[in-house]
């Protein structure tokens, strides 16, 4: 199987879906000529009508994607950095997420917003490095997808484009150049299915996005001492609760690692989901790691204090086995 980069996997999903369905189109800032390169070259095949550069107008990008989706198109809107999504928040929260419900299912909004988040030495600072997916978990009507490797990225993007709901597709800047095996033949990964990235029996480590890579490396480092099971939920909404709960019942220990700020974050939600079903199986209180509740600072010395790092995850795991 060929190893390709995460951005190439995304591009290949876009290309295949655009070939398959003429209603699929891309819009966003500089999508034909700049940015992280996911869309580069697609305009040559599909033309500027379907790979559409927009003004720097996030509310209009997102809002017009909603409007086009209401009319049967399947837009894939790119928001260059997740931080910029805030300008279009009304159009996601008050409009896209409400259309199906308010119309008793008569209207659908089949759109995808693709956007990169996170940092780890990306150097974007406070307004270009945030991890914001957790806040969208509080909005019914949205689906949230967050793939951690090229295989998942391709399969999940294809399913997201085919889904009839508004999907926010969170990528991580550090993942873009990561390589992984992606088959040539057609495949799609259903939304709502977690992946057990590595089986283990002593500890359930739930990790998302860039944190999955760290978690797998740590699991490998610790393999002679602690058997770590690494679970990647892959989609936050819908959330595959069963896979997480069953793993925690088996291991009796749970650590959740996610780059969101910990306060009100995904970590706490997953712990609650697990504890409601697996509390009596626990051998150690569940733990969470996320970004500290400070903005993301520019300085590397400061940034590594704020975000979850490999060292912090490892230390936390060892603490959980200190008794």
């Amino acid at each position: 199987m060929a190893k390709i980069m995460y951005i190439e996997a995304l591009k290949s999903a876009l290309r295949e879906e655009m070939r398959k369905d003429e209603n699929v189109f891309i819009m966003g800032e500089d999508v034909t000529r700049y940015g992280f390169g996911i869309n580069r070259g697609l305009v040559d095949e599909f033309g500027p009508d379907r790979v559409r550069n927009t003004p720097i107008s996030e509310a209009a990008i997102i809002g017009s994607a909603v409007g086009a989706a209401l009319r049967g198109m399947r837009p894939v809107a790119e928001i260059m950095f997740v931080d910029f999504i805030m300008i279009g928040l009304d159009q996601i929260v008050n409009q896209a997420a409400k259309m199906s419900y308010l119309s008793n299912g008569e209207l659908s909004v089949p759109m995808v917003i693709r956007t990169p988040e996170g940092t780890e030495w990306f150097g974007g600072g406070a307004q270009h490095s945030q991890t914001l997916h957790s806040m969208f978990m509080n909005i019914p009507g949205l689906k949230l997808v967050i793939p951690s490797d090229p295989y998942d990225a391709k399969g999940l993007l294809k399913s997201s484009i085919r889904d009839n709901n508004p999907v926010i597709f969170f990528e991580h800047k550090q993942l873009y150049t990561q390589k992984g095996e992606v088959p040539e033949e057609e495949y799609a990964i259903p939304l709502g299915k977690a992946a057990v990235k590595k089986e283990g029996k002593d500890l359930t480590l739930v990790a998302t996005s860039w944190m999955v890579k760290h978690s797998l490396e740590i699991a490998e480092d610790l393999k002679n001492k602690i058997s770590v099971e690494v679970i990647d939920p892959r989609t936050l909404v819908p959330l595959d609760k069963d896979t997480i709960i069953n793993s925690v019942k088996k291991t009796g220990r749970l650590l959740v690692v996610d780059e969101s700020h910990v306060s009100g974050g995904l970590q706490g939600e997953i712990i609650t989901v697990a504890m409601q079903e697996a509390f009596w199986n626990m051998e150690f209180p569940p733990r969470r790691i996320g970004s500290l509740n400070t903005p993301i600072p520019f300085s590397g010395a400061l940034e590594k204090k704020v975000i979850p790092t490999k060292e912090k995850i490892k230390e936390e795991i060892l603490t959980m086995f200190s008794d």
Binding site: S57, G67, R71, M99, N104, G141, D163
Partner: protein, 325 residues
């Protein structure tokens, strides 16, 4: 522009329907018979009827929180709108909306926006869909003067202009953004002047004259069909009611309100015009009023006796179940 006698009378009928519907609804809220609140469109009847009459059946309309008149003008039954205000299962949204987010997909009216200016970008996207699909559907986005101060307005008009989209931005300038008079919320004298910033045509019309509104929108539709792109139309009217139910509009100068009510009430004005032109007789006018009065009374009865939605359906339609392909 030629408007047939029949069409003129239909427009009158529509305006009466909106006026009577809103009168009655306001009374129901004042009597404390309904929960929540609604935004009646007293004074906006000519804008709703004139603009919507100028569209064809396949065209798309994005309405707003002050939207009852838009839906009534399009032909949505007063029964279903009233039932929605009552939160009943027979309502336009089966009780999920209330007064503000009405929907009528069969008549090309997606969910109305309760967020001021919230529909302007969505409507732009609908026009983008038309452009990509190369259909000849026109999208109409209706919003108030207050909405022209929000970022969506700027982003959407710029985008529509850059892409030459088939859309009419229709501003119902009713002089008030909630309780703030226009002079206190924007310096520009004519909202249509803002079109200059987007290199698109801008037009101001008398929004209390249904035929003027009709003519302006009809012309805009023709321009759009010729591929001439987006247009901004400002209809100057006056909100003859408060901002929402329960608001008596005490912040407005009495004389200002009296002047508009006496001289520019769109329903009264149009009625007199039709009398003068011998299009409508006193008897016909009376008959229309009585018929509509009855229709509204029946709408209320229908709403009152309709069932509440079943509690067990509360989680339905948050998500679409089916997947494409």
């Amino acid at each position: 522009m030629k408007v047939s006698r029949e069409q003129k009378i239909n427009m009158y009928r529509s305006m009466i329907k909106i006026r009577k519907f809103e009168d009655k609804l306001e009374q129901i809220y004042r009597d404390g018979k309904l929960n929540g609140h609604s935004h009646t469109c007293h004074g906006g009847e000519a804008v709703a009827v004139g603009a919507i009459e100028a569209l064809s059946e396949k065209d798309i309309i994005f309405s707003n929180h002050r939207g009852h008149g838009h839906y009534l003008a399009r032909g949505t039954s007063p029964k279903n709108i009233m039932a929605e205000c009552y939160g009943k299962v027979t309502g336009t949204n089966q009780g999920r909306s209330g007064s503000m987010y009405l929907v009528d997909t069969k008549r090309g009216m997606p969910v109305a926006s309760g967020i001021v200016g919230g529909n302007i970008c969505l409507a732009t996207g609908s026009a983008l869909a038309s452009k990509i699909k190369k259909d000849d559907i026109v999208t109409l986005s209706i919003f108030g003067d207050g909405a022209t101060n929000i970022g969506f307005f700027h982003e959407a008009l710029n985008m529509a202009s850059v892409w030459n989209l088939p859309i009419i931005f229709l501003c119902e300038n009713n002089q008030y953004a909630e309780a703030t008079h226009r002079e206190q919320h924007q310096k520009v004298e004519r909202i249509s002047d803002r079109a200059i910033a987007y290199s698109m045509p801008g037009k101001t019309v008398d929004g209390t004259d249904v035929l003027k509104v009709y003519e302006a929108v009809k012309e805009a539709v023709e321009c759009i069909h010729r591929g001439e792109g987006p247009i901004l139309i400002e209809c100057v009217a006056y909100r003859l009611s408060g901002h929402s139910s329960g608001d008596l509009g005490a912040y407005r100068p009495k004389r200002e309100e009296e002047k508009w009510r006496k001289m520019y009430d769109p329903v009264k004005k149009y009625k007199i015009k039709l009398f003068k032109e011998n299009i409508l007789s006193f008897e016909e006018a009376k008959k229309i009023e009585q018929e509509i009065q009855k229709e509204i009374e029946e709408a209320i009865k229908f709403a009152v006796k309709s069932e509440e939605p079943l509690a067990k359906t509360v989680g339905k339609f948050v998500y679409q179940e089916e997947v494409n392909g």
